[in-house]
């Protein structure tokens, strides 16, 4: 709250004359302003509460311009800017706007180029105009120098515009960056805190690597020195945080930790607020060094929580003492286990109880701001209670509090309560307490109007489900599924399938649930769901008869989903005999029922049904003739689809030639699937949302089941290949390849760095040399030599322009986790490159362990554009270092190869892909590519001369990875099947997906 005193100050001293604000005049001249706060204006003395009362979500155009009676913010007199802005606003068309902008740009350019030296004011005005033009979405390629000049002005407003321009147009000319850093350095050392703050804000807004290097000394000093002004400390703390995020070596934890931690004790709450964020981040990285923050945070928190709202004055927000700081402190404490030291522990528990107590107090204000601020602290406190997971009493109280929010009139609160309860449901102490609210949660599925709230309710039902309530919850979810939003259906189907399996005591119930899923949401039932129901039926004798009967009945419905036909076809093919005794489901009727759907189904389903039919030949010899007729119909025997045709031909022949005994052996019931963990569940456990390394621990606890589920649906099972092989023989028809992970995804995702030459780098996977990057300015070629786990990469840079490059800088590195996998060392380069020149740089690499991402090089320099303007080149490129580069070829005979092949037969050691050929299949060019792979291409090993097999050892410093590759081209189908086996599963996977890109 702003107290009356400062309001008077605002009104009296700051805005003496309205006429001094031309912007305001211009504005009034041509449009009616629409106040953000409807009915906002009240006389100065009026309490602000009333003016804010009506604000959100109401649009009332001011009938009067209240400002006529009110002095506006004092203008700094950039009249030209205001005129320009209103000109732009008055433009009737895009063309007119562009014309006006071009006129202005020409004007500014001539001013900057003119002989007359501009004074600071003019410079500021023009730079500000350029900035405005840039923000409108137009390119700005000049004015950088003038902006940099403004940095050294002594006037605040000039400096501010200079810094603003620099911060927003970060694409810095590299010959200017030294100047900029120098100006920042000067300002940081200035005695004027306002200048220091501007400089710090600029660093925090840009946060580049250069700045990390330049200021890693100054900032910690500034932050912890006793002489520093409070507002500067605030900026310095967050500035340091920004640089720490860019590169964590800006801080030496041993030297500074204790002094930084003590900022939590600072008397200025603003400093504590800023420092809390810094400490939160640092303590994640160095928990040991920063563990002193725990007791300080607890005592600070305790002082705030026990204070009354008048104690903290400026920091009280709608009667809530320092809500933002409280949240930050509660968050910081979640980086550590519950305190063990008794005094700390007692104090913290008192705080948490205090926060829970306050939630029950009568509100001190009816404003939503009051409730929100209070509840932000409450929710964070509950997060901490869940994180500690050691106080049953608090967990149950938290749960009751959230339960009362479930029927609150604020949608926000209902949403957050559902979200928070999801975590409570996972704690053994509060699980039962959550279950008390089951009715309310189920009701919200029916009454909530915001789909995201319903989604949270589903998540919560999923999280709170156990053996006692599974039937009820699954039934409710199935009911809701019929009307659920399309956007959440697939996820719901997966959840229902998992719950049904997990808590099934009676497998007939499970079968019913899955079939109902297929019936009401067939389109959203993914393969893994129906694969799984088949696995379970095959493995459990007690349910086979029931399953056959149920699918038979389901297939009799007039409209029946294709997935139902698949499941029905498979189950009847295996166990149809169990119900054949009943006249109503005799063999002929079963067959007719399935075949009635046959022509409506896709090719892959028809393939499956053909397998069912041939199994019927064995189960029901009495209809064999009938089935043979179906096989031999033109529609099957001459089907244009090769797979279908092949099955028809082979099955027909098989049923004709084989004796009943042989037939019975071949078409025996499927063996049991190995009783491993459900593929759905194992995926669920593995799949975690991509979180930053540091946040892993916290996120693990906090990640909502929803996020996990989404990952699950994105990846399909590869474990189920055994089943799918049984029903289809063409792996290609099975749908999306589950392991087709994007080889660059984790690179970009983790470090935020994405190279601009993904395709080029990938092209060099199978070639030792070639062009790595090229545009109109520069060409970068490379040549790679490797020996065991060492590599030497020669980089060739060619200047394609007619003028020299300056400040040429190459920064090669292994980002993120790659740093522990590959060491990259680049030789320094000459900063100047003459026009048209080419030169070489060597980069040495050591492969420490197997890796999946590519090292990168940041390349920056200044060049001169065709029009003579100095421009900055700044790009990040991937280096063509892939795991196969460290292959050593191994020669071996056929016998040896196959024995090795067999020893690598565990599912995890093999990665297989079937994919369409990108170009014509040519034996020689395949061979060339495989030679480039680095492994030995073995001749006369594979019995089929069309196929290729390769063998080699991948060298890393820690281990040697024996790897075998087999590539089977299929010329007719224009497909390849690629199999990689390796004694390291990640390598097999990685190599397989990389290599598949190459054919």
């Amino acid at each position: 709250m702003v107290n009356a005193l400062s309001r008077t100050v605002l009104a009296q001293s700051a805005f003496p004359q309205e006429t001094r604000n031309p912007a305001r005049n211009v504005k009034r001249a041509h449009s009616v302003p629409c106040s953000l706060f409807s009915l906002a204006f009240k006389p100065v003395s009026c309490a602000r509460n009333s003016s804010l009362n009506l604000l959100p979500r109401e649009i009332i155009a001011d009938q009067h311009d209240w400002r006529l009676t009110m002095p506006a913010v004092k203008g700094d007199g950039m009249r030209g800017l205001a005129v320009f802005i209103s000109d732009i606003r008055n433009c009737k068309s895009k063309e007119a706007e562009l014309k006006r902008i071009n006129k202005e740009l020409a004007n500014i350019r001539s001013k900057f180029k003119g002989d007359k030296t501009l004074d600071g004011y003019q410079k500021k005005k023009y730079v500000c105009k350029l900035l405005f033009i840039f923000l409108l979405g137009h390119d700005i390629d000049f004015g950088h120098m003038e902006a940099v000049n403004l940095l050294s002005s002594n006037k605040y407003t000039e400096k501010q515009i200079g810094y603003l321009f620099i911060s927003i147009l970060v694409n810095l000319n590299s010959d200017l960056i030294k100047l900029i850093i120098q100006s920042i350095k000067n300002d940081i050392q200035s005695r004027n805190p306002i200048h220091v703050n501007l400089a710090l804000q600029c660093i925090a807004n840009i946060g580049s690597r250069d700045m990390c290097e330049a200021f890693s000394q100054d900032l910690p000093k500034l932050l912890t020195s006793g002489d520093t002004v409070d507002s500067v400390k605030q900026s310095a703390a967050l500035c340091l945080l920004r640089l720490f995020r860019t590169s964590c070596d800006v801080i030496q934890p041993n030297e500074t930790a204790s002094r930084i931690v003590h900022l939590l004790n600072d008397s200025h709450l603003g400093v504590v607020t800023a420092a809390a964020s810094l400490i939160e981040a640092l303590s994640k990285k160095w928990p040991e060094e920063f563990k002193g923050c725990v007791s300080l945070a607890i005592s600070r928190l305790s002082r705030i929580v026990t204070s009354t709202y008048t104690d903290l004055q400026d920091y009280t927000y709608y009667f809530v003492p320092a809500p933002w700081l409280c949240v930050k402190l509660l968050r910081l404490l979640q980086n550590y286990p519950p305190p063990e030291e008794p005094a700390n522990k007692t104090r913290l528990l008192e705080c948490l109880e205090g926060i829970l107590n306050r939630a029950q107090d009568a509100p001190k204000s009816k404003k939503v701001q009051h409730a929100n601020a209070k509840n932000s602290v409450l929710f964070e406190a509950i997060s901490l209670i869940i994180h500690m997971d050691s106080e049953p009493n608090l967990l149950v109280r938290a749960c009751n509090q959230l339960g009362s929010f479930l029927s609150h009139r604020e949608t926000n609160l209902r949403y957050l309560a559902l979200e928070s309860m999801c975590l409570l449901a996972t704690s053994e102490f509060s699980h039962e307490a959550v279950k008390k609210h089951q009715e309310t949660i189920i009701a919200s599925l029916k009454t909530e109007r915001d789909v995201s709230v319903r989604q949270r309710a589903i998540d919560l039902l999923y999280a709170m489900c156990d053996r006692t309530n599974a039937e009820n919850i699954v039934a409710e979810m199935l009911t809701y599924l019929e009307t659920a939003d399309y956007s959440i259906r697939e996820e719901m189907v997966l959840k229902v399938a998992i719950l049904a399996e997990k808590y099934a005591t009676d497998y007939t119930w499970y079968v019913d649930v899955i079939l109902k899923l297929i019936r009401i949401a067939g389109d959203y039932v993914s393969e893994e769901v129906w694969y799984r129901v088949i696995q379970i039926v095959v493995n459990r004798e007690d349910v086979q008869g029931y399953a056959s009967k149920t699918v038979f009945e389901a297939l009799q419905r007039p409209a029946c989903h294709e997935n139902m036909v698949k499941v029905g076809g498979y189950i009847l093919g295996e166990f149809g005999n169990l119900i054949a005794g009943d006249q109503r489901s005799s063999p002929q009727i079963q067959f007719d029922l399935l075949h009635g759907k046959y022509h409506l189904c896709s090719v892959s389903t028809r393939c499956l049904l053909l397998s069912t039919y041939v199994k019927f030949c064995n189960l029901f010899p009495e209809i064999k003739q009938h089935i043979q007729n179906v096989f031999s119909s033109d529609h099957n025997l001459r089907n244009p689809d090769a797979e279908l045709q092949q099955r028809a031909v082979e099955y027909l022949q098989l049923s004709k030639v084989a004796s009943p005994d042989v037939l019975a052996t071949i078409l025996e019931e499927m063996p049991q699937f190995p009783e491993k963990e459900s593929s759905l569940l194992s995926k669920l456990k593995k799949a975690k949302p991509q979180v930053e390394e540091l946040e892993n621990q916290v996120a693990e606890k906090k990640s909502r089941p929803a996020a996990v589920m989404r990952d699950l649906s994105a990846t399909t099972t590869s474990k189920l290949v055994d089943l799918s092989d049984a029903v289809h023989t063409n792996g290609g028809g099975i749908g999306p390849g589950g392991d087709a992970f994007d080889i660059f995804a984790s690179n970009g995702g983790e470090t935020g760095i994405v190279g601009c030459n993904k395709a080029e780098a990938l092209r060099l996977m199978l070639k030792p040399n070639g062009i790595l990057y090229e545009d109109a300015i520069i060409q970068i070629g490379c040549k790679l030599q490797t020996k065991k786990n060492l590599a030497r990469l020669g980089m060739f840079y060619g200047n394609k322009t007619n003028s020299a490059f300056t400040h040429f800088l190459v920064n090669a590195e292994s980002p993120g986790e790659l740093a522990d996998q590959i060491v990259v060392q680049a030789k320094p380069v000459d900063p100047d490159v003459a026009a048209g020149a080419q030169f070489q740089q060597l980069i040495n690499l050591v492969c420490l362990q197997d890796f999946s991402n590519q090292p990168i090089a940041h390349i920056s320099f200044t060049y001169t554009s065709a029009s003579g303007v100095p421009l900055n080149f700044n790009k990040t490129i991937y280096l063509p270092i892939y795991i196969n580069k460290f292959f050593e070829p191994t020669d071996m005979a056929a016998e040896q190869f196959f024995s090795r092949w067999k020893t690598l037969s565990q599912p995890a050691q093999e990665s297989q892909k079937v994919f369409p050929a990108k170009g014509p299949i040519d034996h020689e060019s395949i061979k060339t590519k495989l030679l480039g792979l680095g492994a030995k291409v073995l001749e006369n090993v594979d019995p089929n001369p069309e196929n290729f097999v390769c063998a080699g050892i991948i060298h890393t410093q820690v281990l040697q990875i024996g790897t075998l590759v087999r590539l089977e081209p299929n010329r007719q189908a224009k497909m390849y099947r690629l199999t990689v086996r390796s004694n390291r599963e990640t390598t097999a996977q990685q190599l397989c997906s990389l290599l598949a890109e190459q054919f």
């Binding site: 449009s31 920004r242 964020s277 320092a322 964070e380």
Partner: protein, 142 residues
């Protein structure tokens, strides 16, 4: 942490875009359009939070302006929702009954207000009195 702050009007015009992580210009434009599409279809029945890519948007509408803050999924929603309101109250005080045009004509001052209250994607200062006092000092230097 805050990934970006956007102020947009209902027509989708951006009145402020403040980025706390690196995006290239095309990406920024895309984000701006996506946020607008996601936020403007929601009404009073909806929450003030929307999941957005790998993040979430906490937003609040004031007259015709949407104030949107993009934060990490695990961040505290109400914390940022009130941070928006705190920021708007400061703007209202600073510009005396703020309206959209103030943000247009004084865009460079709005950045100053933002930097006083948020820095490096974190909440820097929450006291309205302190922020306004600082802003007044700066104004007096003009």
């Amino acid at each position: 942490m805050i990934r970006f702050i956007l102020i947009q009007n209902r027509a989708g015009k951006t009145r402020l875009a403040k980025w706390y992580m690196h995006f290239d210009d095309d990406e920024k434009q895309k984000l701006i359009e996506e946020v607008h599409a996601v936020v403007t279809v929601r009404d009073a029945r909806h929450t003030n939070f929307v999941e957005f890519r790998n993040f979430k948007i906490v937003y609040r509408r004031y007259a015709g302006l949407y104030f949107c803050i993009c934060v990490d999924i695990m961040d505290n929603n109400l914390y940022y929702l009130e941070a928006i309101h705190n920021f708007v109250e400061v703007l209202n005080e600073y510009f005396h009954n703020v309206c959209e045009l103030d943000l247009v004509f004084n865009f460079y001052k709005v950045y100053t207000v933002v930097d006083e209250m948020f820095l490096a994607g974190e909440v820097r200062e929450t006291s309205q009195t302190k922020v306004l006092k600082q802003l007044m000092t700066l104004t007096s230097l003009e």
